[in-house]
Each structure stands twice: as structure tokens, then as C-alpha cells.
Symmetry: C2
Subunit: 302 residues, 2 copies
């Protein structure tokens, strides 16, 4: 798994030289068994999710990923086969996303498996997408479909059926929007990835930018599998986490249409509302035109 | 704690621009309560040790530290006062070592407190100290005194008295040898920091460099507190970990004398043996000229 700068993982540290004229973009996320994934989830999918949630952060900055460091605190009785599966998952995603392992640390723990990954990427100086640039009047866009991750967790815990397997797949294996993020440099006035849930994360942009937001629940794009779950699950789609889609602001004068740039042929991005002058609050207009109210956790209730 | 590149910790990632013409040096280490520190250790000292074990890795590469990312998996009942103490420890060492927080993640865990820190530093391109450059005939040097950390752990667990508090202090608060590491660029043919124990870590340099090593136990510098513990603790000094001193190779033709460069007035570095042609093994000559034998864990037995 180790790349050239990792010095075969035999030194005290690794060496990484960013391409000339680029700024470094760095992010770190931790995942704990029983909190962020289920202990008996397939180890290759745990590895890939760990890498992908960090790749999603790099995507949200409009940056290009290069390499990562990882620390693993594992119970002593973790079988070799588990580590083999975990490494195979990393290898698959390293190939898919052109990143390599730069270094890290492995230790034992009397507690649950605890993973931490730091990802290094680069961006043109000054070009990084930020959360603080949204202005009143900017359109609010999301990539892909919203809510599949949250419903996939409900599937994993036995609360929801998933005949096609789409929801569980989306929960276990996010798709970091790296190509889209890089396309949005120079277009989006603000961006972030949706990890805590659409409404809560939109609130993050509002607070960073000093604007309010108004979105239409009916405009939020749902997958056929999420549609099939029925309206009782809409609040979970809007408030649940683990989407790893991009949420971004675009000034209306750009006439942005998301016409495929940075998205695969069968994928799209959708405008769901607009930023408005006023306090940094998110107003959600329900399917029948009524306001929807949110509790502190960002979850929606009718 | 956040520096300018951290973007107030409100974005998906942080931005770090290395000074022009420098290579990046990156390292990551994890620490788990009950494994690497005692749960009731003072939180400021836990924070400082976490930062310092990583600073020690950067020192061993001859690099200059800049900033760090940290992930914390903490039990839900961790008191606010604990986090306040932890942050105060970070603040103190950020000031001492001129580093800032770049980003990270905090999550809950049903298990023990688990910390992971990734440190970014820089070095002149090609100048990083490596483990693989030692040649037969090179002198083997260590900074400071050896064994205080291992004996400090024995103090912390009630197995050894420590009337002056020196040993416990050394165990809890390592001194990363940053100034020395930077001085050794262009002098040392190989270097690393001693974290697993002198004999085991010397073996790492031997394997990376393809040479053997021969050291004299009597030449290994001990603190007055370690001397006072008596000869029964010598094997622990040679084989125990947590020294965080630098272990390095110097070609004899350099006539290196460690005359204070990179060390404080009351500190020194000591030659303890030499690298030799042959298999990558460490031979320790005991106090009376007899060979000392090591078991697999790197600990010495008479």
C-alpha cells in the first residue's frame, strides 16, 4: 500500500513533496466500531469508507487527493484475515482514487477497533472551496440523491427493507465527488460535503457565510429506493447523515446547469432552494407548501 | 489552538502551504488510555506527550515542525474539565514548539480514550535523516540519558521509588530533540528516535542499513536517578522504551564531538559503540566485558 514517499514505512516519518505551485489541503476523520460502522461489517468496506469519508472532505474543498496516514487501534484478537480484508479494501480504493499510504501507526486497544485517517491533497493557491462564501440570492445545489446513507443505516439495523440493496450499498460505500469538486472551483461560492445531514450541514454554510437558506423538500432529489421507502422516511432523508454528496452555492448569474461536468452520465445535480438575507437559519418548505420545523439535532418533524 | 491554515476549523479541511523549496515530512502516532498512558494521568501531560512523541519523530528526520491534525475518540462521560486540561497542555506545547492545530475530528467511543495525531513538518529537499545510511565503522551516538522513560513507567506503576521525581517526569513528558535533529543534517549518516528501546531501535537501523552494531553497556549514559536504581534495572534501561532521545550514526572521519550544538548547556550526547560489517544484529558488551543476550522483545537478560 505504501507509496514512494513512505520510505517503505521503515523511517520515523514519511516525505511528501506537493507538486510545485500548489497549496496543501489536509483533513482527518476517525471511525469507531459500534459508532461509525458495525463491528461485523466487511473489513474491506470499512477501509474503503474510512478512506472515502476523507476523500469526500478533499472533494468538498475542490482539491486533488495524494496520500494518507492512518492509525489503527485494534483489539488483540483481531484475526489476520480481518487485516487482509481491510488492506484489500484500501488497495482497491488506492487504485480507484490514485492515492497511496504515506505512514501511520498500529497499536492494540482493550476497546473497540478505532481508526483515524489523515488525507493530504493539493489545490491551486487561493482556489479552495470554502463554506463562508455563500451570498443571498445564490442557488443551493446538491449532487446525486439525498438520504440513501441514512436509510441504508436503517437497513443495516433491520428497520427498513432494501430489496435492491441500493440503500445499504450507499451507506457502506460513499462516492466522494472528487471530479465535481474540482469542476466547481471558480463556480461555487461555497461548498461542503453532506456528512451530518442536509439540513444540519446547510446550517453550517449559513453560519459561516452569514446568510439564511430556504429549500423545498419536494425539490430534494431522492433515489428510487428512497422514494419507495415512502413519505414517512422523508425527515430521515433530509436530516440523516452519511450522504457524502456535495452541497454548494452558485451565483444565479452564472446560469449553472450542472450539465454533466464532474458527474457521470447517469448522475445529476439539482437546485433545491436559495440563500436569503437574514439570520443563519434553514427554512424547509414541506411537500404541501407548509413550513417544516427542525429540532436541535437537525432532524425534521412535521 | 487553531492556526491560520485551520480556517477556524469550520471547513471540511485545512490549508497548509509549506515554505517554498521545502519537502514535507509527515508522521502519525496513536495513544490509547491503559496502553500508552494511565487513565488518571493529568490530561495536560497526556496532550503534551501525544504531541511530543510525534515531534520526536520529526526531530529524528532533521525536520522542522509546523502543524498537526488530531482525532479524539472519547468516552461520553469525559468531563469538560478533562478537555480543558488537555487543551491547556496543547496550548503550552504549541507555544514551546511553534506549532499550531490544523484540524481534526472528535467522536465518542464506548471504549477507552483513543488519540491520534498527525504532524506536518518540512526539511530541505533530500536532507531528511534516514535509518538506512549507517555504514560499518560509523560511531553510534545517543543524546541525553537512556532508560529514564522505562524506569519512569516502573515508578508510575509502583514498582520503583523516585525520590527526585526525575524518572516519572521523563516518562510523562519526553523532550523532542528538534534542535539536535536539525544540527545533525549533513553530519549523521542515519538517525531515529528511541521509542521502543535502545537495543530494539538500534536493530531497526541495522536492518535498514544492512550492518551490525556493537555497543558497550557501560558507555550508555544513565541519569543519576537511573544510576541510583541500581544494576538490577540496567536491562530495563537498555531495552525499555519511551526515551525519545536521538540515536544516530556518525562517520568517524567527521571527528564529531557533540560539543553543545543542538543541545542545552547541561546536556550532552555520548558515543556508545560502532556499526560493524556483518548481519544486522546488535551485540551488547556487559559491564564486565561479557556479552549480553536479548530475547525477542528486545529486552536484555544477563
Amino acid at each position: 500500500l505504501a507509496g514512494p514517499g513512505a520510505l517503505a514505512l521503515e523511517d520515523d516519518a514519511s516525505i511528501f513533496t506537493p507538486p510545485p505551485g500548489r497549496e496543501l489541503v489536509v483533513t482527518a476523520d476517525a471511525m469507531v466500531a459500534g459508532v461509525h460502522f458495525l463491528t461485523d461489517d466487511p473489513p474491506d468496506l470499512i477501509a474503503r469508507k474510512l478512506l472515502r469519508v476523507n476523500l469526500s472532505d478533499i472533494a468538498a474543498m475542490g482539491a486533488l487527493p495524494h496520500g494518507y496516514l492512518m492509525t489503527i487501534a485494534a483489539p488483540r484478537d483481531t484475526p489476520d484475515a480481518w487485516f487482509a480484508g481491510f488492506a484489500a479494501g484500501l488497495a482497491a480504493d488506492q487504485a480507484e482514487f490514485s492515492v497511496t499510504l504515506l505512514g501511520g501507526d498500529t497499536t492494540s486497544t482493550p476497546g473497540p477497533l478505532t481508526l483515524s485517517l489523515t488525507l493530504l491533497g493539493t489545490v491551486t493557491p487561493g482556489a479552495a472551496l470554502r463554506r463562508n462564501g455563500a451570498r443571498a440570492g445564490d442557488e443551493i445545489w446538491v449532487s446525486g440523491t439525498i438520504g440513501d446513507g441514512a436509510l441504508g443505516l436503517a437497513v443495516a439495523t433491520g428497520m427498513l427493507a432494501d430489496p435492491t440493496g441500493h440503500l445499504l450499498g450507499r451507506y457502506r460505500l460513499p462516492r466522494p465527488r472528487l471530479a465535481l469538486g474540482q469542476v466547481l472551483v471558480g463556480i461555487a461560492s461555497a461548498a461542503m460535503d453532506i456528512s451530518d445531514g442536509l439540513v444540519q450541514d446547510l446550517g453550517h454554510i449559513c453560519r459561516a457565510s452569514g446568510v439564511g437558506a430556504r429549500i423545498s423538500a419536494a425539490a430534494v432529489p431522492l433515489s428510487p429506493a428512497a422514494e419507495a421507502a415512502g413519505p414517512a422516511w422523508l425527515a430521515d432523508c433530509l436530516g440523516g447523515g452519511d450522504d457524502y454528496e456535495l452541497l454548494y452555492a452558485v451565483p444565479p448569474e452564472l446560469n449553472y446547469t450542472a450539465a454533466g461536468a464532474g458527474l457521470a452520465v447517469n448522475e445529476t445535480a439539482t437546485v433545491i432552494g436559495e440563500f436569503v438575507a437574514g439570520p443563519p437559519e434553514v427554512k424547509v418548505i414541506g411537500p404541501k407548501g407548509e413550513p417544516m420545523y427542525l429540532d436541535r439535532r437537525g432532524w425534521s418533524h412535521f
